[in-house]
Symmetry: C2
Subunit: 261 residues, 2 copies
């Protein structure tokens, strides 16, 4: 047991929920590299972004414990799960790596903003943890995660061994093809694309309108150095992302505005 404590401590979470195939498959990979504490939403919380819960109480419950693996389900968002792990469950321990995923569906381009999977990694990053989010560009349920699992086996030991710059984490997207068809890795930037939503209007039995949001990604960014280009061309996309949202290059321009009392 003493030896166990010297293993890396890995926090595992996701946004598809504690029972999702993606996180369960990833757990089997991650536990080979250290002690794993998994804290995941009780139900799917896709599209929750960096949302936090402070107007209603949080609940957390351990649902599994074995040598080197503990699993908790939490009623909160993905970011709440990270906070509950870091500030409550593991507050006296050093977390060596936060792993989020494997998400079912791409988190490329501006989808990065909507993703609970990426936000969980970003939350770790904001709080000083090394962190990585894994997603597969596959919307079938359950999505085939095999290539993403191979990618995790490659990246996790390097993440444990290397340093990332302060306030930077990794957003990894894996194409929806077998590993044999993947051409390699690309270090990418986030594409400047955006969703164009269609609001499907229906009527409820009382005749009142309601709307389902659906959309398509508009590919405005033609760059070949983007996350979107990489996954479309069967490369694994690894995008370093940071918590600093400042448009530093705009600061001098704004100083020319007439802003006086």
């Amino acid at each position: 047991m003493k030896k166990k404590n010297k293993q890396p401590l890995i926090l595992l979470t996701n946004d598809d929920g504690v029972d999702a195939k993606g996180i369960r498959a990833l757990l089997e990979v991650v536990k080979e590299f250290g002690r794993v504490v998994m804290v995941a939403p009780a139900v799917g919380r896709s599209g929750m972004s960096h949302a936090i819960t402070f107007n209603t109480p949080l609940r957390i419950r351990r649902i599994y414990q074995d040598a080197g693996v503990e699993i908790y389900r939490c009623n909160g968002t993905p970011v709440d799960c990270v906070k509950m792990a870091q500030r409550h469950l593991l507050k006296n321990e050093k977390i060596d790596l936060l792993v989020s995923g494997i998400n079912q569906g791409a988190n490329t381009s501006t989808s990065t903003h909507y993703s609970g999977t990426v936000a969980a990694a970003m939350e770790g990053c904001i709080n000083g943890l090394k962190a990585v989010a894994f997603s597969v560009v596959n919307y079938s349920s359950p999505a085939d995660c095999n290539a993403a699992l191979e990618v995790a086996k490659t990246l996790i030991p390097q993440l444990l061994a290397k340093k990332l710059p302060e306030y930077v984490c990794l957003n990894v997207n894996v194409p929806a093809v077998p590993m044999s068809d993947i051409k390699g890795y690309k270090i990418t930037r986030q594409a400047n694309n955006y969703w164009i939503e269609d609001m499907h209007e229906r009527k409820d039995p009382m005749g009142r309108p309601y709307f389902w949001m659906e959309g398509d990604m508009y590919k405005a960014d033609k760059g070949r150095d983007t996350d979107q280009w990489a996954v479309t061309h069967n490369y694994v996309s690894v995008t370093p992302i940071k918590s600093d949202l400042t448009a530093h290059e705009t600061i001098e321009e704004l100083k020319q505005w007439k802003l006086k009392k």
Copy 2:
């Protein structure tokens, strides 16, 4: 009425909800500069970040209409409100400016990530709109918004007249003091601070634990060019923020990692 149509079209939203004092006061300022369509959450949705709703239906209802002002309440998140406005209500019209706020409470430093107010502005920015978020560093309810209203009167006409770089919007934070005590404006960067949460454990009547999340901002970043520094020293903070999360400066470093199939 024909003239009205040539006025700027301003979309107004917030995260404190359609009845919050901050947005109602801001409406009175904003309507002086153009036609206003206000779409705000039916209830307070603070801390919702960039969350979107696609697993349950959205509802929207017009609750007020007068010359140049329409008010809608929506059951979704702040970002849902922007999407409903841009993709449904106003899909055939050019929105000249998106204004979000006035939020009760600071959205400086990494609070920027949790904020629904800022996310609403960012959502507009992702979709090609000029956008600004206003917050007051005041947590009393209702917060005094008078200085922030003066700031809005200064900034909104300039936003309407000038261009911002593509995919950049403004995050404005106003100190909790009267305008007479405000020293001026600072163009700032987002401080690299973070929250340290305390998870207050209680027991429900069945003896089961639940937790309230509360926290304090840890001031790790001592820079005098930050949003946090500005508001602490009675300056209005104007931070340009961007939708591109890429840590561009880390791309070359990551290319040295051993990432082969």
